[in-house]
């Protein structure tokens, strides 16, 4: 690990009420060591912001310092592809909590700042502003970054990703009547943005490498249903379409060239091909990491003083007997609770079924569970009606996951069936006339 090379007793820039003391200033180096180091949360997204709030709820009285790379207090990312893009939400709506929450609860924030290195032996962080900061406990909530294409033309202007509010503003600037957006990747981000683009009068073409949209995260029935709906809304879907390059004119993206030679003219390109966990900081200081920072069910890393939460982690999934990375708000909140409970010596929170949601047009998708190695998919309700659910079962009929479209009751029932690892005969799930309540509760 890289040594920081800062003199002992270096006074970090935080603690604005303290006069700036040099290493040899009044009080000497020992003075600084007496300062109570706090819990430092590296990352001010949904996970980091929630961890700060739960620590206070669970009774942590000491200092909490929330460090965020963006200049914004923690905010909701899900609306960025939807309400925010359509300008139906304000910054106020987007904020997770108002500014006064942080002052009232004595949560210090250092925004526009990134942790650049962790000195575990000295329990001290190096920050992007050149200062260092001691910690008594560290919570890594560094999130994930949009996966890059790695193809020529990616650096052209007008080639966008969507992760932050700034990204969303840039994207909103290129959407509007008469504009054409090429979306590389038919995942949730791509599909949600396609729907928003249509609502804003722009045209959208989704370019997906796999034979279906949501290939990585949804079953065939849901993919097919969504493909039909997006096409009906005027979205062009190009499946099994591999991108070769993004072509520019005068430095700006003008078209996407496919491997098969097709050229898709456009005014801007959104790259939505997944996210990679920001685990390099953890790996660089020797924490166990690989495709996410390895954590246990208390969000502990391999260092007892360091927890990790949210998109940057790779976590156990007891219901499925494996580990995975879960990129979702519910997971960020669950792990924030796990870390805060562990630090405050409280019993661990009740384990939750992973779940996700998405809004596209008038469709509310709610998904509970993860369909690892499904043996059977059972459709309940009529997809043509716009309201249905797909239950994914293991070979022993254990309910692994449910995908519900405008079917909140089926989602709730499915969530319970998954959590109880209930085995259900497929015909009982298929028959929409049979209420699921008796099966679930």
């Amino acid at each position: 690990m890289r040594p920081h090379g800062l003199p002992q007793g270096f006074l970090d820039a935080f603690r604005p009420v303290m006069p700036m003391l040099g290493p040899t200033g009044p009080g000497g180096a020992g003075k600084v060591e007496e300062e109570e180091p706090g819990i430092v949360i590296a990352g001010a997204g949904h996970a980091g912001g929630s961890a700060a709030a739960f620590l206070r709820q669970y009774g942590w009285k000491g200092p909490i310092i929330l460090i965020g790379e963006e200049a914004l207090l923690p905010y909701q990312r899900p609306p960025l592809s939807k309400a925010w893009l359509k300008r139906e939400a304000t910054a106020d709506n987007l904020a997770l909590r108002p500014e006064r929450f942080y002052t009232q609860h004595r949560i210090a924030t250092r925004l526009g700042t990134r942790v650049t290195a962790i000195d575990r032996a000295a329990r001290r962080l190096a920050l992007s502003d050149g200062t260092t900061l001691p910690y008594s406990r560290l919570i890594l909530a560094t999130g994930a970054s949009p996966r890059r294409l790695g193809l020529p033309g990616e650096a052209l202007s007008g080639v966008l990703a969507l992760r932050t509010a700034a990204d969303a503003d840039a994207l909103a600037g290129v959407l509007g009547p008469g504009r054409r957006l090429a979306i590389i990747g038919g995942g949730y981000i791509g599909l949600e943005v396609a729907a928003s683009a249509r609502a804003l009068g722009a045209s959208a073409v989704v370019i997906e490498r796999e034979p279906r949209v949501l290939a990585r995260v949804a079953g065939h029935a849901l993919s097919g249903f969504l493909e039909a709906r997006h096409r009906a809304e005027g979205v062009e879907l190009l499946l099994e379409a591999a991108v070769e390059t993004i072509e520019g004119e005068a430095g700006a993206a003008a078209a996407v060239r496919l491997v098969d030679g097709r050229r898709i003219p456009c005014d801007a390109v959104l790259v939505g091909i997944g996210a990679v966990p920001n685990d390099a900081l953890a790996a660089a200081c020797g924490l166990e990491a690989g495709g996410g920072i390895t954590v246990d069910l208390a969000a502990r890393t391999s260092d007892p003083l360091i927890h990790a939460i949210g998109d940057c982690t790779r976590r156990p999934l007891p219901l499925y007997g494996r580990e995975a990375r879960l990129e979702s708000v519910p997971n960020a909140i669950e792990q924030a609770k796990q870390a805060a409970a562990d630090i405050c010596g409280r019993p661990p929170p009740v384990p939750e079924v992973p779940w996700f949601w998405s809004d596209q047009y008038d469709l509310r998708l709610q998904i509970a569970g993860l369909a690892f190695d499904p043996a059977e998919a059972v459709v309940r309700g009529e997809p043509e009606s716009g309201s249905f659910a797909v239950f994914h079962l293991a070979a022993d009929h254990r309910v692994l996951a449910v995908e519900a479209v405008n079917a909140p009751a089926d989602f709730m029932a499915g969530r319970i069936l998954v959590s109880k690892q209930r085995q259900v005969a497929p015909q009982l799930l298929h028959d929409a006339a049979l209420p699921l309540k008796d099966l679930a509760i």
Binding site: A53, R56, Q57, Q76, P78, P79, L96, R97, P98, F101, Q104, H105, V329, P330, I333, P349, V350, E352, W355, W357, D359, R364, Q366, P408, A409, M412, A413, R415, I416, K437, A440, I441
Partner: protein
């Protein structure tokens, strides 16, 4: 400004001011009141902001919409006075509202 009292499962009371138009869920989140999780941020998608509305205020809070009622019908601890607090918008008529939280939201 209208006031809301939140009562935790353990009996701890929190009285806050909440501007009209904001949801009862948001009031809890903005003030760090324990017992309301609000995973989905107020989209009526998760049923983790479940509260019991004090009987005296039940009628003034209106009735649950179809989606909300569906979600609530599967909440293990639902009662006739259960609501999702993201779906209750504060108004001058609700000044003094009292809600109680279940033991857990999951």
């Amino acid at each position: 400004m209208p006031q809301v009292t939140y009562i935790e499962h353990n009996g701890t009371e929190h009285r806050i001011e909440l501007e009209a138009g904001k949801s009862v869920m948001q009031g809890a989140i903005d003030n760090g009141i324990p017992g309301i999780d609000a995973d989905c941020g107020g989209e009526c998608a998760c049923a983790t902001c479940h509260v019991y509305v004090d009987e005296a205020w039940l009628a003034k809070c209106g009735t649950a919409g179809e989606q909300e009622a569906s979600m609530l019908s599967f909440a293990a601890t639902a009662e006739p006075n259960s609501r999702l607090s993201c779906q209750i918008a504060m108004s001058p008529e609700l000044d003094g509202l009292v809600v109680r939280m279940p033991e857990a939201q999951h």
